[in-house]
């Protein structure tokens, strides 16, 4: 089937978007901060007629026309607006993609016959956008490149099979070339696409390389180019408006359950699980209370999520009552459906632990609940990593090592500067005499990591058994003779 692509270009989108909400009939400009100065970014029709141009400095424009109304550009709002337009454009065809910051591409293949003619289709688009006070330029052709060229440098429809005739009179810039290439082409006297086609391909390829050839081929359909459709934003949110304000704990929980059912159903169909849930209670006095629940594992079962909310919901101050509750899953992760094994109908033990972590996390913060993971290092402080339990699942095996103390603390100096352990010493205001010392075990600092604690050089570790009973882990630093206690054995 012959492909039909519509390219829509909104040259004045930024200003049109602002003027839609507060229409004025006066020169208006949207400015943006570029190259250290405010410049005109988008102009409305009246400002264009005054002779202002895009990229002009704002101070120059103001000097010429002191009455010029301006507004700062908001790229995020513009992007959102363009996505809205893309959604609107789905009334014509299901395959709509964004084109730069202010354009749309519609893959109309197979749906043009719903309209009287292709011209009628473009007229319809124009009329509808015109009534929404949006200025648009459009082009319809059998390739993306040609449709883009028509919308930006001409208008109307290029009937299938007459692509060459439609594009030939257009300037070379219509091929979506960069400025430098256009300038060189102009200097060579190749002003229009027709001139370019008349030139032998081989010479063009030698002079300009692949980019130009690719653009020509794309425009004439010799090289495929797809329209990338906008992925739909899936949001997991539900809202409940209440006819009468509520304030009792049980009522809020019941409302929450209804919302959870809706969200969890959607999560289940999409095979997703949520990690963060946000409940927003809108109160009668216009204030709002937010409750965030962070889960230790992705979940989508109403029965297990609801009890985790209990504690935070009890803390909610309902004021004079809550009349709207909104629940949103802020973070979702994929959670594929799993086949139940026989006899595993009861929840797994790890699930119970995750629920406990969630419950503790809602009280003290999920990042304060940790798990040990092994690390490859001989340095005692770095032979393990402490990471948040909710985000580490990989259970790496612990390798056997030399005997290490159960307690570690930062090195505490004791007297003595001899190479062998002192016979008696004082630690934490207690006197100890050594009965047995096992060692030394020499550990060198890791030179590839600069650790301030290990600046004193290598250490000779000793396991020391004292006559008083306590078994300590001490070390001697030969490069700067001194003794320290760093741990205690159980």
């Amino acid at each position: 089937m012959q492909r039909r692509i519509v390219s829509l270009w909104f040259p004045r989108m930024a200003s049109d978007r602002i003027l839609r909400s507060r229409p004025i009939h006066a020169p208006f400009a949207v400015t943006s901060h570029e190259k250290n100065t405010e410049r005109l970014y988008c102009l409305n029709k009246e400002a264009m007629q005054l002779g202002l141009t895009l990229g002009m400095g704002l101070s120059d424009a103001k000097a010429l026309y002191p009455d010029l109304l301006t507004r700062e550009v908001d790229p995020h709002e513009d992007e959102r607006f363009l996505k809205l337009l893309a959604r609107w454009a789905e009334r014509y065809c299901p395959w709509v993609g964004l084109d730069g910051q202010n354009g749309l591409l519609l893959d109309m293949t197979g749906s043009t016959h719903f309209f009287e003619s292709e011209d009628g289709l473009l007229t319809d688009i124009h009329e509808r956008l015109q009534s929404s006070r949006l200025h648009v330029r459009s082009g319809l052709a059998s390739t993306v490149g040609a449709a883009w060229a028509l919308s930006h440098f001409s208008k109307g429809v290029a009937p299938s099979g007459q692509l060459k005739a439609a594009l030939s009179p257009l300037p070379v810039a219509a091929l979506r070339l960069d400025e430098a290439t256009c300038a060189v082409l102009l200097r060579l006297g190749l002003r229009t696409i027709g001139d370019l086609l008349a030139t032998p391909r081989a010479t063009l390829g030698r002079r300009f390389g692949l980019p130009l050839m690719r653009r020509i081929d794309q425009a004439f359909g010799d090289q495929a180019e797809q329209v990338n459709a906008v992925a739909p934003d899936v949001s997991y949110a539900a809202r409940l408006n209440l006819p009468e304000p509520i304030g009792l704990y049980d009522d809020v929980m019941a409302a929450l359950e209804r919302l959870l059912v809706r969200i969890c159903e959607k999560l289940k169909t999409q095979e997703m699980g949520t990690r963060v849930l946000l409940m927003t209670c809108q109160r009668v006095d216009q204030a709002s209370v937010q409750v965030e629940l962070r889960l230790a594992r992705p979940m989508r079962e109403v029965a297990s999520i609801l009890p985790l909310f209990e504690r935070s919901v009890r803390d909610v101050d309902a004021g004079f009552g809550i009349d709207q509750i909104r629940l949103e899953a802020l973070a979702v992760e994929s959670l594929p459906l799993k086949q139940l094994e026989t006899g595993s109908v009861q929840p797994k033990k790890t699930d119970a632990l995750s629920d406990l972590i969630t419950r503790l996390g809602s009280r003290i913060g999920l990042e304060r609940i940790k798990r040990f993971e092994p690390a490859d290092s001989h340095i005692p402080e770095r032979s393990f990593i402490v990471s948040p339990a909710a985000y580490c699942d990989a259970q790496r095996e612990w390798k056997e090592q030399n005997l290490r103390p159960v307690r570690l603390f930062s090195p505490e100096p004791i007297e003595g500067s001899d190479k062998s352990p002192p016979d008696t010493f004082c630690w934490r205001r207690m006197r100890f005499s050594i009965a047995q010392a096992t060692g030394p075990e020499r550990i060198c600092p890791e030179w590839w990591l600069d650790d301030p604690n290990w600046r004193s050089g290598m250490r000779d570790y000793w396991r020391v058994e004292t006559r008083q009973g306590r078994r300590l882990w001490m070390f001697f630093t030969p490069q700067r003779p001194a003794w320290f206690v760093q741990g205690e054995f159980a």
């Binding site: 119970a352 570690l408 159980a490």
Partner: protein
Amino acid sequence: MTEFQDVFPLQKNRVHEACGPGAIGFAAKACGQDDMTVLWLQAGWQSEQLNPVGLMSFMSPKNLTLVQAESHKDLLACTEDGLRSGAVKLVVCELSQDLDLTAGRRLQLAAEEGGSTGILVIPEGAGSNATQTRWHCSPIFGGDHKTDKNLTLQHWQLIKNKSGTLGGWKVFWDAEAHRVIVVSKDGE
């Protein structure tokens, strides 16, 4: 007379207390007695940290979940949650402040409800009356003749017992058999 096997392994569904210089070792050995999932709570500001590599001779660090609370109240609340949930077999909490009777009793009730065992590592003389047993643990020097490198001789004194008499034992940890071995009983 109370025999050691009557009081250790610690009675389930109860909260126990341990104090003295060997209290951490006591908790670690209780964790290791049969490899269980453990929730270990400590205060976030504590400078003495738990070394998982050192714990390996008693239990697998994989089974341990560490909670670092920012206040005494949070610490107790999390301990209670942990005991009540029943998701872990053993909850160990390192306390640095006194425990009053109300808190101790609440923890006891939570342990009974959740079916898990609690060990509170307390400063000396800071326990609550609600505890099932209280132990004073101190490492002792075993004499020059000991050559076994893993020999961890300790003296465990039972200083409070709700259901029985008191006693004291010299014990050590057998890493091979993964259990506490009694060397001798006090007064024998």
